[in-house]
Amino acid sequence: MLNIKSMKTQLILYLACLAVFIALKDKNTGFIGVIFTAVLSAGLIESGIIFLKKKIFQISESSIITGLIIGYVISSNEAWLKIVFASALAILSKYLIRFRHRHIFNPAGFGLFLSTIFIGVSLEWKGTYLWYILIPFGFYFVYRIKRIALLLGYVFISLSLFLTQAVLNSYSLPGIFYYFSYFYIFIMLIEPKTTPVEILPQCLFGALTAVLAFVLTEIRVSFDVEIFSLLVLNASVPLLNLLSTKKGGLS
């Protein structure tokens, strides 16, 4: 039974509807095939793990979301085995790489990044420029999962770095509104389980992600700087949480 009040259910419905919209808009049925493959493989792998651990059959909403994200980001013409590989890495990371009973890395980001490195998967970031859809819905999700500070940290630092760069290079800014990687920001960066809960750590998480992505871009690395930066900051969440104002933090 669908629980429409659940944030995960809402995110699944949102991403599924957006996928149909993009497929129709771009006349790209292959995209739906990729989404289906990623969701099915992520769902089955996680269900298998849950069955082995608890002896019950359960399809987790998280695995569906992970599959959907992989389906959006991975290239539509990748072989189905590569999509399954990325999904498998994503789900396995949740169970194998843990700290204090919680997974560390954004599962989709982990699966996608390692797939690009190990098996040369190419990424496409479908729909990342659909700002008129991603921004309003993104604000809703950011507000509901309480990640506004994270987003502000990321945006403020990105703004400072790139504004300085643009001014130094005398670039004109009109028309640039459409070229922000909105899918990354509003779907991947803000994932609640692998980001800090409190305001100061959230701000630092967003800001440091922006700085790292900027520096890596400038030194011309040949991998996805944003996903890599996200994973690095995911790994630093236990440290950032030391700045928490609640019990157990430093301040």
Partner: protein, 113 residues
């Protein structure tokens, strides 16, 4: 909260030039007389020497005919490429696939008129 959301919107409007990964569009033209295919790959970036269109693949009716590697972008808005495709004829499909140096790609095609 309203002030925070307003601040947020302002930041987003101002900072929308930050990252541009996959090309946002490819405008393709093919001149049947000169047999030249021209593609304007729209890819808005803040530093075209560090973030650029790194590869362009051209295929004719699904078969790869050109692979072009590039080390920086013409300008911060787009990359323009032109190729001689002597064997394209009316009704053929020409496909242009452009890769961002950081992440993402975009594919567009045209039918030769």
């Amino acid at each position: 909260m309203k002030k925070l959301i307003l601040l947020f919107l302002i930041f987003f409007t101002l900072s929308s030039f930050a990252y541009a990964h996959p090309p946002s569009d490819i405008i393709i033209t093919y001149d049947s007389q000169s047999k030249i295919l021209k593609a304007v790959i729209v890819h808005n970036v803040s530093n075209p020497k560090a973030h650029y269109i790194s590869k362009v693949d051209i295929s004719l009716n699904g078969k790869d005919v050109i692979e072009h590697k590039i080390s920086f972008q013409d300008n911060n808005l787009n990359q323009t490429v032109s190729y001689l495709i002597p064997d394209a004829k009316k009704g053929d499909i020409l496909e242009v696939e452009a890769y961002c140096s950081i992440s993402g790609k975009l594919t567009k095609e045209i039918k030769v008129e």
